[in-house]
């Protein structure tokens, strides 16, 4: 869980989400364009999913902090 808490993790996720399609396109020029550009749709869905996960993880971190605070008060 500690790994999830680090800001670096989110940066990596965001970076991967943006650069992976580009990296594939460079290594194999037609990865995104072949098979009727279906991989563009895959990339879009992946980005949306990662974005929502990122939102949830951030909310969870805030909640954990709040739980610790209220525990200290009692």
């Amino acid at each position: 869980m500690k790994f999830f808490k680090s800001r670096i993790f989110f940066t990596i996720i965001l970076f991967l989400a943006i650069s992976l399609p580009a990296a594939f396109a460079e290594g194999n020029r037609d990865f995104m364009r072949e098979t009727g550009k279906i991989n563009v749709v895959v990339a879009v869905i992946l980005v949306i999913f990662l974005g929502i996960v990122w939102y949830l993880v951030r909310l969870e971190r805030k909640l954990t902090k709040l739980e610790h605070q209220t525990k200290d008060d009692q």
Binding site: A17, I18, P21, M32, R33, T35, G36, K37, I38, V40, V41, A43, V44, I45, V47, I48, G51, I52, Y55, L56, L59, K62, L63, L66, Q69, T70, D73
Partner: protein
């Protein structure tokens, strides 16, 4: 509770229908794309999602189409495989309306997959020499008639876009969710000014924060899509610009909220800024289209698909997609509101 279930059900439907429904068959290109009059020429059509070899040889009919009255029918069609069709045309002696050259659209009619069209497939040029005064009868000998219509559930085929038309259900709704959430944020800011209750401020900031998420997602997914269809990720398009400016407004909004020691003061000034900035964003809708030509669907003179190309099958997925994503956005915002409520209670603010 019911609306959360509805959102999940709708999104599952959107994901399944959006990914599994096949594309209609289409023609990618024709080779050769040039012909001269009086020539006998075999044109190869490269199809997408076509089933040329799955029809009886007589079943497939092909035309080169000038307009409603003039069309040339192929004398013979041979399917080389499922995606390549060779059609032999005998080009007529002259062109309609005394023209020197014309772009002809190709129509391929398949008994099962229906008719597909390729605009400006072949350019026909008048041969030098004496042009007959009367129009060659080949133009009207076998007119386009009794085209088959594909009755199954399928999405329209578009050149350049291909399968990525499915992004309509994933990328486009982000823009709708963004509008909805930012609108809700402004609404609660207005309510906060009329009645300064912490609940109104919590809602305004939570909707703005969730709207930011969807704005970023909309921009990122839009850039990916644009990169592989228009060739570049950014093109100063109105929707891209509006989203970018809206993101700047709400980033500024959150910085403003946090630069006050007193909670009430920050909430009040942030609410004022929210309303002011949102209202000043609206004129962009009139100004930007005058400054840049847009590639985005719906812009004038744009060959890409716009709302007029949204056929009934797409509507059946697109409208549920908008509702499903909006409800999901509401759900995410709701979690944030509930967290903030707990936080404020723990801090003794409320």
């Amino acid at each position: 509770m019911w609306w959360k279930i509805l959102s999940v059900v709708l999104l599952i439907y959107v994901l399944l229908a959006g990914m599994l429904v096949p594309l209609k068959s289409g023609i990618q290109r024709a080779e050769p794309a040039y012909a001269r009059t009086k020539q006998e020429i075999a044109v190869r059509f490269y199809g997408y999602n076509t089933m040329f070899s799955k029809a009886a040889a007589s079943g497939i009919r092909t035309w080169l189409y000038y307009d409603e009255t003039y069309a040339l029918a192929a004398s013979r069609c041979t399917a080389l495989n499922d995606t390549i069709l060779e059609a032999v045309f005998r080009m007529p002696a002259n062109l309609p309306e005394g023209r020197q050259s014309a772009y002809l659209n190709a129509i391929i009619d398949h008994p099962a997959a229906g008719a597909s069209l390729l605009p400006a497939a072949v350019e026909l040029t008048q041969d030098s020499g004496i042009v007959a005064a009367t129009l060659d009868s080949a133009w009207t000998a076998r007119p386009v008639h009794q085209l088959h219509v594909q009755t199954g559930f399928s999405f329209p085929y578009q050149n350049v876009i291909y399968e990525s038309i499915r992004n309509t259900y994933f990328h486009v709704p982000m823009w709708f969710v963004l509008l909805f959430l930012f609108g809700a944020s402004v609404w609660y800011s207005l309510r906060y000014l009329r009645q300064p209750a912490p609940e109104n401020d919590r809602r305004a900031s939570a909707y703005a924060g969730t709207g930011l998420l969807f704005g970023v997602l909309g921009l990122l997914t839009g850039m990916i899509w644009a990169n592989y269809t228009w060739g570049k990720p950014w093109s100063n398009d109105i929707k891209q610009l509006m989203t970018a400016v809206a993101l700047l407004i709400y980033l500024a909004y959150f910085i403003l909220r946090r630069s006050f020691d007193e909670y009430e003061k920050g909430a009040r000034l942030a609410a004022v800024y929210n309303i002011f900035a949102f209202a000043s964003l609206i004129p962009l809708l009139y100004i930007v289209p005058r400054m840049f030509a847009s590639l985005h669907p719906g812009a004038t003179g744009n060959p890409a698909f716009g709302s007029q190309d949204l056929d009934n099958t797409m509507r059946a997925v697109f409208y549920p997609a908008i509702l499903g994503w909006t409800l999901l956005g509401l759900w995410l915002a709701n979690l944030r509101i509930r967290y903030q409520r707990l936080f404020d209670k723990a801090m003794g603010l409320d």
